[in-house]
Every structure is written in C-alpha cells, then in structure tokens.
C-alpha cells in the first residue's frame, strides 16, 4: 500500500522528471515517487493533491495514460500561488503528493455503448486518461467521439494526441475555438455546437463532460436536446479543496463533498445544484 493511502493527509515525496510547457499558461509535470513502493496507479478522472512546501496544495487531475507504465502526469494551468509555484519546479525538484482521490469516470460501465467526451479548456486533462482507456479497449465500445473547445488555437492542449486521434477511422474528433485569427483553418464557435453534428445512438450513449461549469451546463442542454438520458451524462465538478478526504467540508457542494463523492457525478445527482449562485 502506498504511504499516502496509509495516511491520506500525509504527502509522499515525488521527484519531477519533466516540466513541459503546453501553452502560455499551461504546463505538464511528470513525476515519480522518491521512495519505491509509492504507487503511480490511478483510474481515469481521479486527482492528486500536489503540495509545494511552504506554499500549500492544489487538487490536480491525473492526465497521463493509466493503461501504460509511465510517470504520473499532471497538466496544470497557472491560477494562483500554488500553481505558480508548481510552474517553477525544475526537473530534479521534489514536491509532495497525496492521492489518488475521487470517483473516476464510468469507463467500465460504458462498455457496449457509444461514448461522447465533451471537453472545454483544461477540462481535456481529466478526460485524456478516459480516452486512453477507451482506445486501449476499442472493441468494447460503440462509436467514440471527442468534442473539444478552447479559447483560441494557441490554447489547444495535447496537439500530438489530437493529431493522432484525428487520424483514426474509429474515432470522431471535433475541435472548435471561441475565436481565431484568420490563419486558423479549423472550426470557430462554441463547443456545444459540435454536439448536434455528431452521429450517435442517443439511447445507448454515455457522455463524459469536463470544463468550466457554465460550459458544462450548456453542453448538458445540448446533450439532452439530442435525447441523451440524464442518467448517462457524467460531469467532473471543481470546487476549492483542502483535505480531499471529506473531513474539512471545504469542497461541499449541496449534500455532496466533491473530493470523496466526486469529482465525477452523474448529471441527475447534481442537476439541482448546477448554476446555483451559492450552495
């Protein structure tokens, strides 16, 4: 058992192997445990608490491939104190990690069905492990489609993955940006518009949605308009988080704690809370 599972409040030391820039404000950290025996296993959609000594910690989803043996990978957008400090960490540097935590995407439960992944902005990071898992078990699913929206072409993440996925015949990949300069030859428009252009069997489709809350709300509207059942729509919710194990109440969301009951919720579990100003 990993040290962090033995005591979920105690960060274990991890060494940074690589700090790769994705966009002007997003970077990906690859880390490995300093002590042997600390696991790098996780399920798609789970997150870790990344701790920078003297600064604090932040919940960050694991963005790597759970079907392969590789360093733990986190894709992070610079927001405030902790993420700025994480951005500065150089290879060889050490940070503390607790986790993995949280309810994963229902990729196993989706077997036999069509799967739609709808990602907005940094929301592609928690969905990427789900995509890797689906593709590693491609024959177990019906149609698979990814709809990915970003602010501008310069903000698109994982370009080499996108290129590779687009080249496959068994996968539909649609990318759209909110605005672009004239040299961009791809689609411009909100990601929700892409959903109505997809072909899937609404009665047998599972949708996994991750992005800013308002984008998820509009995406759900579009999915429902296309007759996907509420019980087959899953969202990954974000709230400020501290303990990550349901002790502190920091991430309480109505009757739920995002850290232990989520971050992935079935839409009908959180439907009444979405879009509320205060919960």
């Amino acid at each position: 058992m990993s040290e962090s599972l033995a005591n979920p409040l105690l960060p274990a030391p991890y060494r940074v192997l690589r700090n790769k820039r994705n966009t002007h404000d997003v970077f990906t950290l690859d880390v490995e445990p300093v002590k042997r025996g600390n696991s790098t296993l996780f399920s798609p959609g789970q997150f870790n608490m990344l701790y920078i000594f003297g600064k604090g910690d932040a919940a960050i989803s694991i963005s790597g491939d759970p079907t392969k043996e590789q360093p733990l990978r986190h894709t992070i957008r610079r927001a405030g104190v902790v993420t700025q400090a994480l951005e500065q960490v150089k290879p060889g540097g050490v940070l503390g990690i607790r986790g993995p935590f949280g309810v994963p995407w229902p990729v196993k439960e989706a077997e036999g069905q069509d799967v739609l992944l709808v990602a907005g902005g940094i929301g592609l990071a928690p969905l990427r492990p789900a995509m890797y898992t689906l593709l590693a078990n491609r024959d177990k699913y019906g149609r698979i489609a990814l709809f990915y929206g970003a602010r501008t072409p310069e903000d698109l993440l994982y370009l080499s993955d996108l290129e590779q996925w687009r080249g496959r015949f068994d996968l539909q990949v649609c990318v759209s940006v909110d605005t672009a300069k004239r040299n961009w030859m791809g689609d411009v428009g909100v990601v929700t518009k892409l959903i109505s252009k997809a072909s899937f069997d609404p009665l047998n489709t599972v949708a996994l949605v991750c992005g800013p809350e308002i984008m998820m709300r509009f995406s759900v509207q579009e999915l429902k308009k296309n007759e996907i059942k509420s019980g087959n729509i899953f969202l990954s919710m974000e709230r400020n988080m501290k303990c990550a194990v349901g002790f502190c109440g920091h991430c309480q969301y109505g009757p739920h704690f995002i850290c232990k009951d989520g971050p992935v919720f079935r839409y009908d579990q959180v439907q009444s809370l979405l879009g509320k100003r205060e919960v």
Partner: protein, 153 residues
C-alpha cells in the same frame, strides 16, 4: 428545379417543411459555388441572399483597422448563412469568407420576403426555423463574451 427541391428538402434547415412551401422557396433559389479564398459577402453590403450550405466551410470574419481580422464563427454542411435578409435595413454584419470550395443554395432575400408577405404561413414556418438559429447565436455569443476558459478573477 426538381433537383433544387430535392436538395432543399434534405437540408436540416428545411426538414419536415411541407412540399407546397418548399416549392414556393424553390422559386427564389439558385445553385451557387464559391472557390476557396473568395468572399461570399462583405460587411455593410446589401443582404440580398440567404445561403443554405451544402458542402465546404465558411468563416464569418470581423475586422477593425489596425487589428488582425478575427474569425467569430465557422459554418459548414447543414448550416445556413446570413439572416440579415430578414431584418431591415438588410445589411451584412460581417464578412463571409469561403475557406474551402463551398457549394450552397442561394435564396433571394427580396423574393423570400415577398413570398412571406403573400403567404404568412410560409413566413411563420421560416420564422420558426430562423429564430432558434438566432437564439443559438445569442447563447454562443454570451459564452464567447464570458470568456469561459479564461482564468477566474
């Protein structure tokens, strides 16, 4: 004419429209193509046509002197282009730029307005198809304005 009618009834915009109305619309329709790189219309021009896009890709662009041209939306197969034919003073609000070879059915705006005036049921049918597009566009603009992917302040 028959093939225009066939193309029109298959387009999502006119899905389930009664044949008699499709036939009325065909009277205002013509088949058009735009080569990649050409402008279908420019901002400020009279909005004489409404386009039912069949294939290709069109960018709606806005430019402001001294700034780079910005694409605000791209449209393609299954979409329609330019509803300014419906709203006085019938002027274009953006440039429409074909990014690929684009095939469309052009509907003459004045002809359509006249037919809608003569037959309010046709006018109602078209309105019921155009208003959701405008609503969609408004929602999309709200999301774009909110800069939802930007860092929360």
């Amino acid at each position: 004419m028959e093939s225009l009618e066939k193309i029109l009834v298959q387009h999502p915009f006119l899905k389930n429209l009664e044949q008699k109305y499709v036939q009325l619309i065909v009277g205002c329709a013509s088949n058009v193509r735009f080569d990649s790189g050409t402008f279908i219309y420019r901002e400020g021009e009279d909005a004489n046509y409404f386009y039912i896009l069949r294939t290709g890709k069109v960018a709606l662009e806005i430019h402001d002197s001294g700034r780079e041209t910005i694409t605000i939306e791209t449209l393609g197969e299954g979409d329609v282009l330019g509803w300014a034919w419906l709203v006085p003073p019938y002027r274009r609000h953006a440039d429409a730029h074909a990014l690929e070879l684009t095939r469309a059915i052009a509907l003459d705006g004045k002809c359509l307005r006249d037919k809608c005036r003569d037959d309010h049921n046709l006018g109602y049918e078209l309105m019921m198809r155009i208003v959701p597009l405008i609503t969609h566009q408004l929602q999309a603009t709200q999301l774009q304005l909110m800069d939802v992917y930007g860092v929360k302040k």
